[in-house]
């Protein structure tokens, strides 16, 4: 029933490109994320390296045709290593005037803009905020515009499917995908297979969508229009051999937690309350019951973290996940986990702004909250993932640290990492070293706060163990017996011990490496989290001109790597690009008395390479 995708016959030579940035933009209901996801897979299967940036509104279905309802998916793919989702758009697919309005400023001069003219009614043009039709005035003079009535052509393509007009028009995204596949000589078959599977029980929809996909592709081939649809070739990138997949930050993080728990010999109890953009982790883990995962959708953020702490008390690995506002609510309970010295993992998928802020936009502004954001002296461990695939390794590492040191560990990601996808060389789980947890069972000499001399971690005795019955709580505990104690010197000793335990972890994590460049020089560009890609590219660009600039990227935010102070001191300038108003820079200044300088961006959008590059150049005087 499904037609197969024939290998495209190339009539005119394709223009070779090292890398390309494509952005699909349309209404929230236009299926742009889905389109982007399919295109990502096609690029990956063609051997390109890639990075993606899904950018969507907080509203589920914002009013159609409005600028605030525009949902976009950007992909940067190429024959070289790709580290960011791209600064400027080479090809913009705009499904309506609002999408054009929102994205136009990001298209490079001379870039290609494909528009569905069928959606450019006077009403839609006005609704998008254009004074006059941009297709008719000079708005688009700087670009190569391809005007296609996608709406009408899609209706025509799917007319035999018997779908109503509304459903038929919903196939528009597949039509454009087919066209873009043609432009880059991409194989349609995986998408055909995927549609057949997705609509296995609604074969009419499968047939219609496949017809639209093929029609878009055929349109490119036959170019029923004035001027050709430009075609390109993007070679496969030279990448390490092995088995690959695309992975989102949410998937990599969830899987990393499961693998980490497996290596610790523990089962996961994941307590969470839905919040954007953290919910995917809950959704993924809820489907992994066969791996010993229990998920609990709690009544609120507080119950979520409390259930996780209760689980750790009972001998599971307690994990909770949220975004900034939810982490704020969990603060008191995290303090209890610090005080009772129980393992706990807290994942924060950061989003933008104080309070509700911009739920679907990205920011790194919860670093203070992670490191300092609790009452009293309440140290814990903080790590940050740099990319979707990096979430896997960091997730395994947070499990190791939480269980080895009997401490809460916070893992920072952000909305960008959570939703973006990239190719991933799939690791062999058997290569991850195990770090099995040993519960205390020996009765002789037991008290709940008996510590390992080296790690200072207390012993973990779980309910059900005969002879080790004990009580713990948030009241200060006597160092030598674990009983409640209001003694002043004891409190000093316990506070010092809790701090020493966390500080000591610096000896159990790798020394800070330099990602790129020398260990001394003019400028160290220090980043953390999802700014990795743009910093890396910006530094390599200025290094190519011979400048003594290095890139240092922190995974361990607290405690900081033990050599970081001396490393930073060997640079004349320390520059810290962050998607906040300067949080890591404050920590570095406070810890090392270095005159670190900030590069700040809080627009809800990731850094562009050019922005970081120009900040570096300003310091170089170049």
């Amino acid at each position: 029933m499904a037609s197969t995708a024939a290998v495209a016959e190339i009539r005119t030579p394709r223009e070779a490109r090292e890398s390309v940035v494509v952005r699909f933009a349309g209404d929230s209901g236009d299926g742009m994320q889905l389109t982007g996801g399919q295109f990502t897979q096609a690029a990956a299967l063609a051997g390109n390296d890639l990075a993606t940036f899904p950018d969507f509104p907080a509203e589920i279905r914002a009013p159609t045709g409005t600028t605030f309802g525009v949902s976009s998916f950007q992909i940067n793919f190429g024959g070289r290593r790709i580290k960011t989702s791209g600064d400027a758009i080479d090809v913009l697919v705009a499904m309506n005037p609002a999408a054009l309005k929102v994205e136009l400023g990001n298209v490079r001069d001379g870039g290609v803009i494909i528009v569905d003219v069928g959606s450019f009614s006077d009403r839609n043009v006005k609704r998008a905020g254009f004074a006059s039709n941009p297709l008719e005035d000079k708005t688009l003079n700087a670009y190569r515009v391809i005007e296609i009535d996608v709406s009408a052509l899609t209706m025509e393509a799917v007319k035999e499917s018997g779908l109503g007009k509304k459903d038929a028009l919903r196939c528009k995204n597949l039509w454009t995908l087919g066209l873009v596949y043609w432009m880059y000589a991409r194989d349609r078959q995986p998408t055909v297979d995927w549609l057949n599977k997705k609509f296995a029980k609604q074969s009419g929809l499968a047939t219609a969508n496949i017809a639209a996909l093929n029609a878009g592709h055929a349109f490119g081939e036959t170019a029923e229009m004035e001027g050709d649809v430009p075609t390109y070739s993007v070679a496969a990138a030279k990448i390490e051999p092995g088995e690959y997949r695309t992975v989102s930050g949410g998937e990599a993080l969830a899987w990393g937690l499961v693998v980490g728990a497996h290596k610790a010999g523990l089962k996961i109890m994941f307590g969470s309350y839905p919040i954007t953009p953290a919910s995917p982790i809950l959704h993924i883990l809820a489907r992994l019951k066969q791996y010993g995962v229990v998920t609990f959708q709690a009544e609120d953020e507080i119950a979520a973290v409390c259930s996780a702490i209760g689980a750790s008390f009972a001998g599971h690995l307690g994990i909770t996940s949220s975004s900034g506002p939810g982490i704020a609510l969990k603060g008191e309970a995290i303090g209890l986990a610090i005080s009772t010295e129980l393992p706990l993992i807290v994942v924060n998928s950061q989003r933008a702004g104080p309070s509700t802020g911009l739920p679907t936009k990205t920011e790194q502004s919860d670093l203070y909250q992670a490191v300092y954001g609790r009452n009293a002296d309440a140290p814990l461990v903080v790590l940050a993932s740099r990319s979707p695939s990096d979430c896997f390794e960091t997730a395994v590492e947070v499990v190791r640290l939480a269980t080895k040191y009997m401490t809460p560990v916070m893992l920072l990601t952000d909305g960008y990492i959570a939703n973006a996808a990239e190719p991933w060389l799939i690791p062999d789980v058997d290569d991850v070293a195990p770090f099995g947890v040993k519960f205390r069972t020996e009765v002789e000499g037991f008290h709940p706060f008996h510590r390992d001399e080296k790690t200072l971690a207390r012993n973990w005795a779980i309910p059900g163990t005969p002879g080790l019955e004990h009580r713990i709580g948030g009241i200060e505990k006597d160092y030598d017996s674990g009983h409640i104690s209001y003694d002043a010197t004891n409190h000093q000793r316990m506070t010092d011990t809790r701090k020493a335990k966390i500080d000591g972890i610096a000896n159990d994590i790798p020394e800070q490496a330099v990602e790129q460049g020398e260990t001394s020089g003019d400028i160290a560009v220090v980043g953390w989290g999802s700014t990795y890609g743009p910093i890396d590219r910006a530094v390599s660009n200025v290094r190519a001109e011979g400048h003594a600039v290095s890139h240092i990227h922190l995974r361990h935010i607290w405690p900081l790597p033990r050599n970081l102070g001396s490393l930073l001191a060997s640079f004349k300038t320390v520059l810290v690009p962050e998607m906040n108003t300067g949080q890591l820079v404050t920590v570095l200044r406070a810890e090392y008395l270095v005159p670190a300088e900030k590069v700040s961006k809080v627009s809800g959008q990731p850094f562009k390479i050019a922005e970081i590059e120009s900040a570096i150049r300003a310091r170089l005087g170049a």
């Binding site: 051997g47 791996y291 507080i302």
Partner: protein, 338 residues
């Protein structure tokens, strides 16, 4: 199954910690009654966990020689839920006061009850905030004078039993702190019930709210002002055992009548049906001077527990995919080889 080598006694459930409640506090009597009950219900210290929030009552775990977790204000039911989801074999008790359970923790109590997590939840209701020195609580009656309400409180109080029934609790019972005969029976019933068991204990705060329950607790009035309900038995009370509850003709409400007066016979008296939720609501609502306070198991109608349902689902999933391999998980969906 664990074999208990020797018969445990109340002493085996007492810790060596000095009890720090005010002399004369009703909590002492509750502690004693529970320590006595534990061996009788076959509890073992290593499989028992007491979880509490914050407040006077929440110090309870420190005095029980079992596992114990003194957590944060209001959240004990959430910790207990995590414990049960991790190890359903554990026998978990949650202890808190009226502030802990019905004010700051009201939300968690509601959801824990409706989910039917297998816990014994004890609310020590003294209608006052004790540990913070005497402010009115969510169960304080209108007009309660306290440091924060010098002219008297103006808020309508919440009824723990009605709140629990409204939240979907499958077991709701009431007792009083000093009744060392009735209280252990209620502990046993709560323990027997699989699912969330809510037991409200009217507890006297000798310092900040002394005598607040005297209107029905005082020995001089107890028999006239309390009705001890028992499943399948007529709801009779009074020193002469001749007072009883019946439905008032023509309206949906309960009245107290005297057997032998106005043609009332024993057959007119309502027989308690603890599986009847409507009756439980009527009994829990009796708060006027004309009606006695209902004590005992107001409602008991078991349903599957939350953790059992969760674990059943997990077992089903495991049965359908017995070879859960992590390397396979990482390779699910589209992969390609370079």
């Amino acid at each position: 199954m664990n074999v208990v080598p020797q018969q445990l006694t109340a002493k085996d459930f007492a810790t060596d910690q000095e009890v720090r409640w005010c002399p004369g506090c009703g909590d002492y009597a509750i502690l004693k009654a529970l320590q006595r009950t534990m061996p009788e219900i076959g509890a073992t210290p290593e499989k028992t966990v007491f979880v509490s929030g914050i407040g006077c009552a929440a110090r309870f775990p420190y005095y029980m020689e079992t596992y114990g977790f003194h957590t944060i204000h209001g959240r004990a039911p959430a910790f207990a839920t995590g414990i049960k989801l991790s190890n359903p074999e554990l026998d978990v008790w949650v202890v808190g006061g009226d502030g802990d359970m019905l004010s700051i923790g009201g939300n968690h109590l509601m959801h824990t009850l409706r989910r039917n997590v297998d816990l014994q939840i004890l609310i020590f209701n003294n209608e006052i905030y004790g540990l913070t020195k005497g402010q009115y609580s969510p169960t304080s009656r209108v007009g309660t004078r306290s440091p924060s309400t010098p002219q008297g409180s103006v808020e309508a109080p919440v009824s723990a039993a009605l709140f629990a029934l409204g939240s979907g609790a499958r077991f709701v019972a009431r007792s009083v702190d000093t009744d060392l005969k009735h209280l252990p029976i209620m502990f046993k019933r709560a323990h027997e019930h699989r699912g969330a068991s809510l037991l409200e204990i009217f507890q006297n705060c000798i310092v900040y709210n002394d005598g607040v329950f005297d209107s029905f607790k005082a020995p001089s009035v107890a028999s006239e002002r309390q009705v001890r309900v028992e499943h399948g038995k007529p709801m009779i009370f009074g020193a002469e055992k001749n007072r009883g509850l019946r439905m008032r003709a023509g309206v949906f409400e309960i009245e107290a009548v005297t057997v032998g007066e106005d043609g009332v016979t024993v057959d007119d008296i309502l027989v308690h049906d603890e599986t009847n939720r409507v009756m439980a609501n009527l009994l829990a609502s009796m708060d006027s001077d004309q009606l006695p306070v209902a004590l005992g198991v107001l409602y008991c109608n078991p349903a599957p527990t939350y953790e059992a349902s969760v674990l059943d689902q997990a077992a089903d999933v495991r049965a359908k995919s017995p070879n859960a391999d992590l390397n396979k998980l990482l390779r699910s969906g589209y992969t390609w080889t370079v």
